[in-house]
Symmetry: D3
Subunit: 269 residues, 6 copies
Amino acid sequence: MHPLMMGSLSWVEYQQRLQDGNAIVLIPCGALEQHGPHLPLGTDALLSTAIAQSVAEQISGIVAPTVSYGYKSQPKSGGGQHFPGTTSLDGNSLIQMIRDVVRELARQGADQIVVLNGHYENQWFLTEGIELAVRDMGSASKLRVMRVEYWEFLTENILAQVFPDGFPGFALEHAAVMETSLMAHYHPKLVRLDLIPDVPPVEFPAYDVYPQRPEWVPASGVLSSAKAATAEKGALMADHLTRTIAAAVQREFQLSSALAASNGMAALR
Amino acid sequence: MHPLMMGSLSWVEYQQRLQDGNAIVLIPCGALEQHGPHLPLGTDALLSTAIAQSVAEQISGIVAPTVSYGYKSQPKSGGGQHFPGTTSLDGNSLIQMIRDVVRELARQGADQIVVLNGHYENQWFLTEGIELAVRDMGSASKLRVMRVEYWEFLTENILAQVFPDGFPGFALEHAAVMETSLMAHYHPKLVRLDLIPDVPPVEFPAYDVYPQRPEWVPASGVLSSAKAATAEKGALMADHLTRTIAAAVQREFQLSSALAASNGMAALR
Amino acid sequence: MHPLMMGSLSWVEYQQRLQDGNAIVLIPCGALEQHGPHLPLGTDALLSTAIAQSVAEQISGIVAPTVSYGYKSQPKSGGGQHFPGTTSLDGNSLIQMIRDVVRELARQGADQIVVLNGHYENQWFLTEGIELAVRDMGSASKLRVMRVEYWEFLTENILAQVFPDGFPGFALEHAAVMETSLMAHYHPKLVRLDLIPDVPPVEFPAYDVYPQRPEWVPASGVLSSAKAATAEKGALMADHLTRTIAAAVQREFQLSSALAASNGMAALR
Amino acid sequence: MHPLMMGSLSWVEYQQRLQDGNAIVLIPCGALEQHGPHLPLGTDALLSTAIAQSVAEQISGIVAPTVSYGYKSQPKSGGGQHFPGTTSLDGNSLIQMIRDVVRELARQGADQIVVLNGHYENQWFLTEGIELAVRDMGSASKLRVMRVEYWEFLTENILAQVFPDGFPGFALEHAAVMETSLMAHYHPKLVRLDLIPDVPPVEFPAYDVYPQRPEWVPASGVLSSAKAATAEKGALMADHLTRTIAAAVQREFQLSSALAASNGMAALR
Amino acid sequence: MHPLMMGSLSWVEYQQRLQDGNAIVLIPCGALEQHGPHLPLGTDALLSTAIAQSVAEQISGIVAPTVSYGYKSQPKSGGGQHFPGTTSLDGNSLIQMIRDVVRELARQGADQIVVLNGHYENQWFLTEGIELAVRDMGSASKLRVMRVEYWEFLTENILAQVFPDGFPGFALEHAAVMETSLMAHYHPKLVRLDLIPDVPPVEFPAYDVYPQRPEWVPASGVLSSAKAATAEKGALMADHLTRTIAAAVQREFQLSSALAASNGMAALR
Amino acid sequence: MHPLMMGSLSWVEYQQRLQDGNAIVLIPCGALEQHGPHLPLGTDALLSTAIAQSVAEQISGIVAPTVSYGYKSQPKSGGGQHFPGTTSLDGNSLIQMIRDVVRELARQGADQIVVLNGHYENQWFLTEGIELAVRDMGSASKLRVMRVEYWEFLTENILAQVFPDGFPGFALEHAAVMETSLMAHYHPKLVRLDLIPDVPPVEFPAYDVYPQRPEWVPASGVLSSAKAATAEKGALMADHLTRTIAAAVQREFQLSSALAASNGMAALR
């Protein structure tokens, strides 16, 4: 059990952290979703948790328990709901879950919160949960919540190193080079490099259709090949993400007012 | 009143259309949201409605009444909730609205439905509304629903013509060249080209923060300049969108089974 | 596009209107519901929108986008849910929709709102949506919301002119003389006078029964004949409604305190 | 405890009634709402219960426990929410309550249900609760639900006897002659005839406004005088209502198919 | 009709009670649930109402209308949902019902409320309803709500007298000695002592399973024999409960601050 | 990462498990709640997860991701909501979460599910979530769900060994001997035996009151002393729980039909 995990702290220790001031709480959000034959169903939760821990180490943050179930997998970003093991929440269930957790943390004075998302399909339901928690707390509250999709912090420079043959876009980066490399770095025992399917990038239509079309998705559930994944690439990305997310969080919560200056934006990426 | 609008048909005429078979109903979804000083608050609803009408003409479709209110505007894609006139729905309200409309249309035999979205922030709440309606109808239903964000049908070729100096990405295309050109084509009287602010593209952090930060967004509400917008570019895009969306809709509903063949995907874009 | 429509204003123009003071926002509410073979499915939305525009012209009001879907059609007032094209919302979906729109308008300072209803079945769900928005805003808010069913402003004098042979009651006035005449005035191209069925007034039991009984309702969907409808009667009613609703709105919002005097009531009708 | 009350039956007795066939369950719905200084807060629940019992006696029906709380009182029909003791439910709470009760009764084979409403403001939320229960049960269910507002069964003939000087309309019949007479008949000990205020009928505007306007309503909460109320008039109405509602219920559930014939309608009133 | 019942008071009388200060409102909560062949379906509602009335007499309290429907019966505490007549609410429906009633009472100044529960399965949904109402009212409110399961006030001394052969635990006290004795005391005409089944106490597994297992439960619905029930035991318990609950309520609302002293706890049992 | 954890399996491995038949999925449910100065906030989640893993080893079960947040802490069972770090869900949020997870697992053929609860306050919201999922799946589904509060499997014999001086009841067993011993067995590094407060058992009133009373609860959050806790007692209980829960699960799912025989009950405890 990681010493930065809120679930490992006694309430007395947590209280002390709040009283010391500047406590930042990170809430990792994942999913239980197919990630091909070579990665586990919990990949999104494992990665968001691992990155949250890495960031927390840099900023003396506290990592709240992971929200391990996420919104419904979509064919074009996660392969879709038909894969055994993909176990998803209705949109409003996820909204209310995040709303409650954020509001509860804020009720006790934790007003610097980072929702760290590792599952593409979660983004807008997390957004609404946060928006509602902020509204619940009222305009007098000091609550500030950052919502981070970790992959948004990967710069062109990093992507060029990870994808020397060209970045296919995050849309197809499901169970592919990025996630597999990060898993190989953070959880090598859970990765079966020998089982990575060698598939060309999937081409999807410009729209979505419901009921979802399993036939749009390769049988493996992988949207573009992870063959080029390595633990070294994972370490490279993990290091970059840790540093840049940690910097953004500190800057955001310490220097809120300075953020308005537009020339401060680039440095945060 | 457009003769393809469902609201203009009597129930007898609508029944006839259903009985003739292959009736396709399009539901335009927009928002009431700031679009800079030069475009009206209803831009997203106007454009999704106009494109739905253009597509309906091609495929003898029927356009259901527009859902004119949408999900909360976000700073990085719509400028944010602080602009006067931006009037938004909670996520679950929009989910339930779409769920009801799709389920009701399907209840009466309209089982080929296109949800045509013109507001970026709507996408995931429309998705959930459709997913729930499909679940409500049960596995025996023949209901199929396409969800279309119209801009996803703009090809690299078209974008190169519209943005000869480089495409800044859809993220910044709020009240900018794409929307302004389309409005100049479809609703020229509602565009004030003389009021287009000349702003550089906004740089945003890689994350979001709540309560939303008005200071991240230019005072005008425009995220990148619309100076290069013209009605001609609007006509070019409108023509392309109409043809490609109409083709995709027809193909999807006519040739559902053939869609499984992966080499059929590219042609749909 | 009407210049009084909120959806046609830029946010800058809307802000100016709010800052000028006394801005009144009208929200037309309709339905997508059968109205016999001679009127379009969108009749309730079209009429509430047209009347809202007429009123707005008198009082420099602003017309928000129409809520085009309404509560489930009932046999005794709208013919019922079995007519193709009648596409309805669940009660709570409509409640939340109105709640959100009213609260959002009020959040930005529009605290004089008129919900103008054109669909009989909407009334109580609109009421609850307004009640909840008022509660959300809190007791310190200056928000005041009028809920208007437009037909309630028809006086005995007007009804006597429109129905020289006796007024059958609003209950049977679905797709009948009142609505057909108003449509012939406001939207003549959407009325097919030649298709008006010649039916005697329907007699209904004193109760309702569920599942709804299609056999209670004439096959045409018309509850009493519209044969006597004319554009002139429509003009007469439209003129009266516009003047009296405009007067009531102005009086209500300008002279709120004076309303308590009971002798001021009659003049408002 | 009345022997027709479901709450007084053992489950064995209730099962026997279901197995005997043709069991009809009545659900009285009321409110806790001011009814002037002379009638108790529970008037609507007491009257709907008393009438349900009277009807049940005629048709060997079973009276389920009364739903004693109702939707928010409105100034023009119930005086409004500002009177102490008026204790109301949100619309959706009432919808879900009725939905559950109807669905649960139907789950066990009670498929002939009468929702007997005594509170004007309840009507549409009861309607939606019933509509949802019917949808929940699916199209294969034999469930049929009647919704009865008891006053709708008062014929012109009866009204002429009760109101020899002219009927002011049900809108103003709150805590007035009808309800007071019925209470004097059913619950004489709960009526304080000496406290009936002598007020002229209230004149209301043609619209509603929120927050509700206490100043629209007489301080007593009575919308038109109950001075003419007598137990004899109550007995007259009670007898008429019992007979006609009982007849309608029996006819509706026994002769469902015959109801389609339009000439059968008038007899049911 | 009991003079302490809120439903029997006029609003003027209720207002007077609130103005006199210290008004305490009790809300009895029951269920419609099988209670063996010898007790009526309404037992839980009848007992919570009777005890609320007895307590109200002692403390000049006011008894609000009974919430007569409760949460789903569970095999191990109430026999389960399969018995005809057991008619239950979904959890959230009950939560919202209690939330509304408590908040509404508090809105008008009744800030000393007792939710008196007579149905084991209700407890946690009542808890949540109360928690939400308290949150709705805000931290400035003086609202205090007690939640009482009446059987928790039976002391070991009393239980020893009622169960001379040993108390089987409240879990099996469904339609058994405690409830039957109390019913024989409060509602003797509704008890059929001759129909009490002579069954040994049921042995249940340590877990629950869903769908519920009817075969776990005796066909009679009785979980342990009520043969030893007498009206005298009922009187003994009723007297004890009335006195101790009344004392606890008065002490709680009068001496709130003193409650913190731990040596004051025992006296309240 | 434990090899029995669903989150560690690839979808292919999980599919294989489902196809092998008899797959049993366990869902551990905990809370983030104060557990005194000597146990971590995540105790309930850690223990339910550890026991689920132990049971899964015995029965080749699969452990789904832990639901780490639970219902609001109550003073008499968990110390209450005022302790820093106690971070709770609204009741309906938890209901919907469990409903979704159970329904999703069942959708893919996992129809033998155990919800293993480690947080007292969760019980009834888990119950409702399961009841709703079972209803969602319909009567044709083979889904069976066990809900286990692990402490219910502690027999009198085991309790006598763990509490040689007498068992104070589960009500006071929060952060006390049972939980501390189990944590000392499963997670010794997270227990601070030196910080166990030496407190007498708390005496609580027979009722609850809201807003919750912090003064009812010892400042430490411990309801009865954990001084007698040892890892050996933890091992004793863990071994017993693992064996008896595993046996009950296997018997329940293998021998469902035999369960109806009442003499089979005792053996399951």
